[in-house]
């Protein structure tokens, strides 16, 4: 908050600066900023120019040369290969993130507002699940999924993402709801409203930003997941990350098609990030325990 206010306030030293000072700032501040931006954008440059090259120009030896004309055949080929997997990812990520957000909202509400014995212990127990290396649970996870008949299915993968999303979604909503003034709750309780009414009438209507943060976070995490997907799905239910990894590992897929496929696999999360970056950042900060 203070950062935002400060950014908006007129910076006094920006008003009148000597030429010497300006040139110094250009070299010490802006030049490194631009060089580093180039480093971060370099892979994007390669992916874009390669994806739009006609096949004849798309040799790895002309990686840095822009195309002479735009051609989308690499994207078409990549899309044909990835379409079923992009669809699988969509079927996975939409219910997965919505269910996660609902579960997180209810949990976060209870933990932020209801004072009961052991609340902190429960919170710590849940929170710890966020950081565990999933290798430590994979063996029983596969066995359990097999025995309940969900192994290899998208439904099973949704369940897994919702369960292992509980810690981060609960944490985000708990911190978000903690900002809602307690007087609001007290006032409604005197009116005889139950906790469920308090949630529905007071918290839920105020929850939109919290939902956006959690939905974006889970959308990105589930779309980008590889470990659970590669272990719990079969080829017909592979999401896009697994399929992309297989394409890139094969010798028979042209390299411009590989670049176009990488672009297609990254596009949904990148678009969400560009449109809603502010909320994306808030979710990441919650991940760093900084609510």
């Amino acid at each position: 908050m203070s950062a935002a206010t400060r950014a908006l306030a007129p910076a006094p030293e920006r008003v009148r600066r000597s030429w010497g000072h300006r040139i110094q700032r250009l070299i010490v501040v802006y030049l490194p900023l631009v060089i580093l931006a180039a480093f971060f954008l370099m892979p994007l440059y390669v992916v874009l120019i390669t994806g739009f090259k006609p096949n004849a120009e798309a040799t790895p030896q002309s990686m840095w040369t822009p195309p002479t004309r735009l051609d989308i055949s690499a994207f078409q080929t990549a899309f044909e290969k990835l379409a079923p997997n992009l669809w699988n990812s969509a079927l996975l990520v939409v219910p997965g993130s919505i269910l996660s957000a609902i579960v997180g909202s209810v949990n976060g509400f209870v933990l932020s507002r209801w004072r009961f014995r052991g609340a902190n212990l429960i919170f710590v127990l849940i929170l710890f699940g966020m950081f565990i290396p999933y290798q430590a649970i994979l063996i029983p996870l596969v066995q359990v999924m097999q025995s309940i008949g969900l192994y290899g299915s998208i439904a099973g993968l949704i369940l897994v993402h919702v369960i292992y999303g509980i810690p981060i979604t609960t944490l985000t909503f708990r911190n978000y709801y903690a900002q809602i003034p307690y007087e609001l709750v007290e006032a409604s309780r005197i009116d005889g409203a139950s906790m469920w009414d308090v949630y529905r009438r007071i918290f839920l209507p105020l929850s939109a930003p919290g939902f956006v943060v959690v939905l974006i976070w889970q959308f990105t995490a589930i779309w980008n997941d590889f470990l659970f997907a590669v272990i719990l799905t079969r080829s017909q239910s592979w999401p896009v990350t697994v399929a992309l990894n297989n394409i890139s590992g094969s010798q028979i897929v042209e390299w411009n098609v590989q670049m176009a496929a990488a672009m297609l696999a990254a596009l949904p999360t990148v678009i969400v990030y560009l449109l809603l970056g502010r909320y994306f950042l808030r979710g990441m900060m919650a991940g760093a325990l900084k609510g």
Binding site: L33, P43, P140, F226, W255, G277
Partner: protein, 298 residues
Amino acid sequence: MDRVQTGIRRSAPLIVLAPSLLAIIVFVYLFIGWTLRVSMTSWSGLTPVFDFVGLKNYVDLFADRRFQIDIRNTVLFTVPFVGGSMLLGLLLAILVDQRIRAEAFFRTIYLFPMAVSFIVTGVVWRWLMNPAPGDRTTGLNLLFDIVGLDGLQNRWFTTPDWGIVAIALPAVWQMSGYTMAIFLAGLRGIPDEVREAASVDGASSLQLYRHVILPLLRPVTLTALVILGHISLKVFDLIIAVAGKQLQLDVPAVNMWQTTFDANDYGHGAAIAIFIFVTVAVVLIPYLWSTLRSEARS
């Protein structure tokens, strides 16, 4: 009647939390215990065997040449990855914090790799770090050739013994924006008065950062270190996407996957899993403990 209702009211939070709590207890704690149990069996093959062989699998593991490579590779990856991300992240945060024009624009660029999966990053960097020599030179090696920095050309992740260090480059590319965001949150939390007081005292910008700002950033530095450190111990997708499963670039997570699900050697696979779990716990638990305690105090 009233009593019953109060009872329901009291236990209501637990009833609401119960499904999630049960799921976490089973899928996290029970499963870890189960893996620990498996790590002390000789289960190897498709049918589970629940005998008890004590710590034999762990003894085997530490004597195993492949596992020794894993540990060496984890260290060789962690040092440049964590060090590089910290330095670049701090530099980016300080630069962005200079009341620059188009701050949002620059921040968006530095952070966008966070929106991309390690698989996508790996697929692209696999080509950027292509080691092909001579006429087939491509990727960064070709770029070095074009700009006249031929001396920088190298074999990247195929460098004998040291290939894993090259994997740190895409990892830094992916994570230093996040590190920047953590440092930036820290910088923005420092009151203006602190900087003003230092400049009134005649401190130069360098002195200001060295003696005032950096010490104040210690808590967020620890946060960034712990987050990067635990990511480093779990690294998996990125290595698979850049190089597939190669002994040269093997790390515990890849070894665990292959041992368990390709070779069906569940006993040893579980032991590797528990090893990863313990190393991550050693990094995380003290940090979580102190964070939660300071949160409880405030």
